[in-house]
Symmetry: C2
Subunit: 413 residues, 2 copies
Amino acid sequence: MDWQNVLADRNGRMKASEIRELLKLLDQPDILSFAGGIPDPKLFPAQAYRDAMDAALTGPSAGAALQYSVSEGYKPLREWLAEHMASIGVPCAAENVFITSGSQQALDYLGKLMLNPEDTALVTWPTYMGALGAFNAYEPRYDRLDPKSNRPASAIADAAADAGGKVKFAYLSADFANPTGETLDRTGREALLDMADALDCAVIEDAAYQTLRYDGEPVPPILALELARKGGDLEACRTIYCGSFSKVLAPGLRVGWVVASKPVIARLVLMKQAADLHSPTLNQIATDHVARAIFEPHVAKLRATYSARRDAMLAALKRHMPDGVRWTKPEGGMFVWVTVPEGIDGADLLAQSLQTEKVAFVPGRAFFADGSNGNTLRLSFSCADEAMIEEGMKRLGRLLARVTQSATAVAAG
Amino acid sequence: MDWQNVLADRNGRMKASEIRELLKLLDQPDILSFAGGIPDPKLFPAQAYRDAMDAALTGPSAGAALQYSVSEGYKPLREWLAEHMASIGVPCAAENVFITSGSQQALDYLGKLMLNPEDTALVTWPTYMGALGAFNAYEPRYDRLDPKSNRPASAIADAAADAGGKVKFAYLSADFANPTGETLDRTGREALLDMADALDCAVIEDAAYQTLRYDGEPVPPILALELARKGGDLEACRTIYCGSFSKVLAPGLRVGWVVASKPVIARLVLMKQAADLHSPTLNQIATDHVARAIFEPHVAKLRATYSARRDAMLAALKRHMPDGVRWTKPEGGMFVWVTVPEGIDGADLLAQSLQTEKVAFVPGRAFFADGSNGNTLRLSFSCADEAMIEEGMKRLGRLLARVTQSATAVAAG
């Protein structure tokens, strides 16, 4: 069928999907999986959602809850979010808030809005693989974002120009990032803003995990730091903040948000009108209801549960990992990032692990825009109880001890 | 702010939004509006949705209902849709069904999948303005789709090649189209398939209103006719069928679907993974529940109510329109398309109507890819009761009588 050749045009742009296919295979009952980067479904506030749906679908309000609605999002939810943003150092108006179908959609739209083929997107090495998936559709070049390096902005700009485009944005998850669990400190955030000024590019702050801090000193959002520089004038800010209810309430309703200057919001609204009209009316109304009813106490409960799991994983790693294996010590979020000795590939390790130890994780290579750094892997502690974590890390440590030993033997021989 | 210039790149591609802004202004209490192309919220099955949400969010199933899910869509809903499609002449497997966030998203994805700048999209003159909005983001050239014209396919292909691209698809709403209310007959559908074969392009069948037939003989879906040509082999078909629950259940949950050959579905699934991961899990589960519980009787109720309104509008138009005004006689859907004498512009007419008669409609120009045919307007009868229709058409007729009289006087003078 010749006409189907046209479909191939856009196919090469998608990558993360291959990984997701792999991860699907891992959902087997006898596997101890630390692969999925998903919240624990036992912690979802189902009763609050049921109450919210009952309220929205009862009486005369039901018609509006089931009807088409405006592309920018449900006004009361935008108002609640403006208050929430103020509470984390980003005072803004409801008009600065745009509702998306999860923050994944925000990344897709921002790529669509800003990237032309050959433009450069700056991303951390590693970065969220779903961001690469979203941006890939618009065929950018990637360059490495490292706010703490000494590489001058002019060199980054020159490389982008040589490639035939411009640096359009720097994308990062600054708090308890997927996949590393690491947080960019205040100095790094200020350096990032300096660099964005020098490059005259946007900053996309992916804040999916920001609320899930378990200990350590909170670092202000990048947008809060930029606001302080701009005398509190959000309209003068280049940072685009992407938030999500997926990790703190529930992902199955697909509700996220963007906070940015009004011209950026206006363009996202036009884009959404053309792309899917609006996020589901009912989901926005229910989320507004649930957020107002339980947000703070619910997040406190999540923090208590997840931080105990984080502690269990760090302690188990310390107990069971052989020499030469390093890992991050996240202050929040859902992930620990493990670096194994060079020459060991995470994908090979996964294949062995599934066969011999029945432990699953995500090989690290998929999180690098250039597919480098194969000797890494991502562990998620969000869905595992302490006993499973202990057993899983014991098995993984056993495998790594075997593999590093034989790698050393090969190197010595 | 220089960096915001990059945002302008994509802005010129969006058009329908301007019209939507205008329509928002029309939602004022003293206006009799026939503008919005939306279902009557009083007819939404709110109780069925409440039951569905209660079931989904109670007990152990709640975790899965609120969790991330697969990009292709909720399996039981895809299975119900496969049965539904068989009942309208398109037997298919659940694997041929892909769930979208409303059929608007299907149009966006199909544009993204197939259109490169300078490619040609064939659309009817007029067409659904939201389709133009979705496709515009990918910068196609438009050419006129008219299956009953004598223009040879080779001329269409040559014009596309001259413009620097290829004809990628023909897009149409074949049943009770938005905005005309008209239906393409079987001969026209067969001619369309011949033309698509000659052009080796896809056919996008937008079936948003297909279920809402009030009288006349049903015409098989284009995909059913192509299936018959291909011996029932859906994998050999070039037609991509886009369905929606928005007009027959409720639009506020944003649930639509695509039926196509598996390679097309596979590419849409990859695209959705990158763009928004999946449509809301809960919405798909609830829609499955509601569709299984009430689809047939509910649609029967909608047909009875809407057909009475259609009858009222056609009768009122006959009573009140002056000579020189023509309109379509739809056998289903929500719209009547009115053509006024040349030289009268629908947008001017709307401005006058809002001032003097307080009646709203959509000026027709926005539905034409080239902005031609200003002497047209779209009336929707879906949200108006018989009394409002009678009063609205009386006022509109009065206005048109004045306007055509003075136009004739100017022409004679």
